[in-house]
Symmetry: C2
Subunit: 217 residues, 2 copies
């Protein structure tokens, strides 16, 4: 097995890569990096050599001698290298651009604002408590989902873009997992909710669920 | 001219797209969207039809009848469609993956944390003042630049990846503009500083500078 994924069960960026690996039918070794225990294993010297940003996920492909961070870059790399499974980026350049934009609506404009390090910083800097952190997270998720719900009115079928799974679904599903965790009312986003249900009927999505990882608590 | 860019002079995501358009030698019409005046033109109905996320930039390509958001998706689209100017994504898949990852280190892990809407929200929610907002911004920029500086030790030449410009430089330069604005000491990041100086010797970067836009104040 040439592929190793360093991740954390509840990290939504790790969750994206797990879904993608499953949809591409790529076997991989999962190496848990505990983001909380002992102050966070992502800050330890042994991990910094792999990823100086002290974030997960990191993918190592021993075949190619490449160490890669950033979930979207990882997924596009896997999609370009492996013809197995589902093509996650469409062949047509306009469609590919739209898929990338929706994926980035999540990966750049929602997820980074409500991830662990930001919530820890809000607590340390401004004494924001658990409920305050949930309010902060919901604010950005609901703002982002509001815009995505409108975009999906023009593109959605069974999935974000018609009836083919894509990188957009791979990003959307983990963000919904986070949304539910922070108490977002998903009934406000009926298209997103329906796509979520459709995706989670597929074994590739189920196997990638946080609670189905060996490091789940 | 089939390309219209809706942007704001000081938005670093808009700045990225301006650099890319210049490096690709693509003529375009620039349509300013004032992010502050009258509560922000990005929130007005006339703009929401183009971009329900109420963010800039948005690119309209009338040739293809496409309206596209997300600066990285826009730039990859332009790079795939137009063979003119410089190729911003390398041909080799490993190199392309590395370029995308560094671009996303900026576009997902730095910029979204210190942009206008987040700073406005910190002020509204936690009464963070101007100096507090600068402290917050510097925190995320310095953290991100620290990791990028380490990565560049393995990849940098004149630019982020050897001697060819790429999407990584297109993202890095606007982030440095922001860093300087918030008072980050760039001497702590000598490789980033050198790449910045090299890029800003090129007319394509100079023409894209915030202060050289018609809506600059």
């Amino acid at each position: 097995m040439s592929i190793k994924l360093y991740g954390y069960w509840r990290s939504s960026a790790s969750y994206r890569v797990r879904i993608a690996l499953n949809l591409k039918a790529i076997a991989y070794q999962y190496v848990p990096v505990h983001l909380v225990k002992d102050g966070g294993e992502q800050h330890q010297t042994s991990y910094l050599g792999l990823n100086p940003a002290e974030l997960v996920p990191t993918l190592v492909d021993e075949d190619e001698d490449i160490i890669l961070n950033q979930s979207l870059a990882i997924i596009e790399y896997l999609d370009e290298k492996y013809s197995s499974g589902i093509k996650l980026l469409p062949e047509h350049k306009l469609q590919r651009a739209r898929v990338r934009a929706l994926a980035q609506d999540i990966a750049a404009d929602i997820q980074p604002l409500a991830n662990l390090r930001v919530l820890q910083h809000l607590e340390a800097q401004y004494k924001v408590d658990a409920e305050g952190k949930a309010v902060w997270s919901r604010h950005w998720i609901e703002k982002g989902f509001g815009a995505i719900e409108k975009r999906l009115q023009n593109t959605a079928g069974k999935y974000c873009f018609g009836f083919d799974l894509s990188l957009a679904d791979v990003c959307l599903v983990p963000q919904i997992y986070n949304a539910v965790r922070f108490g977002v009312d998903m009934d406000a986003f009926p298209l997103i909710k329906r796509i979520h249900e459709n995706c989670n009927k597929l074994p590739e999505f189920v196997a990638a669920l946080p609670e189905n990882q060996p490091d789940a608590q």
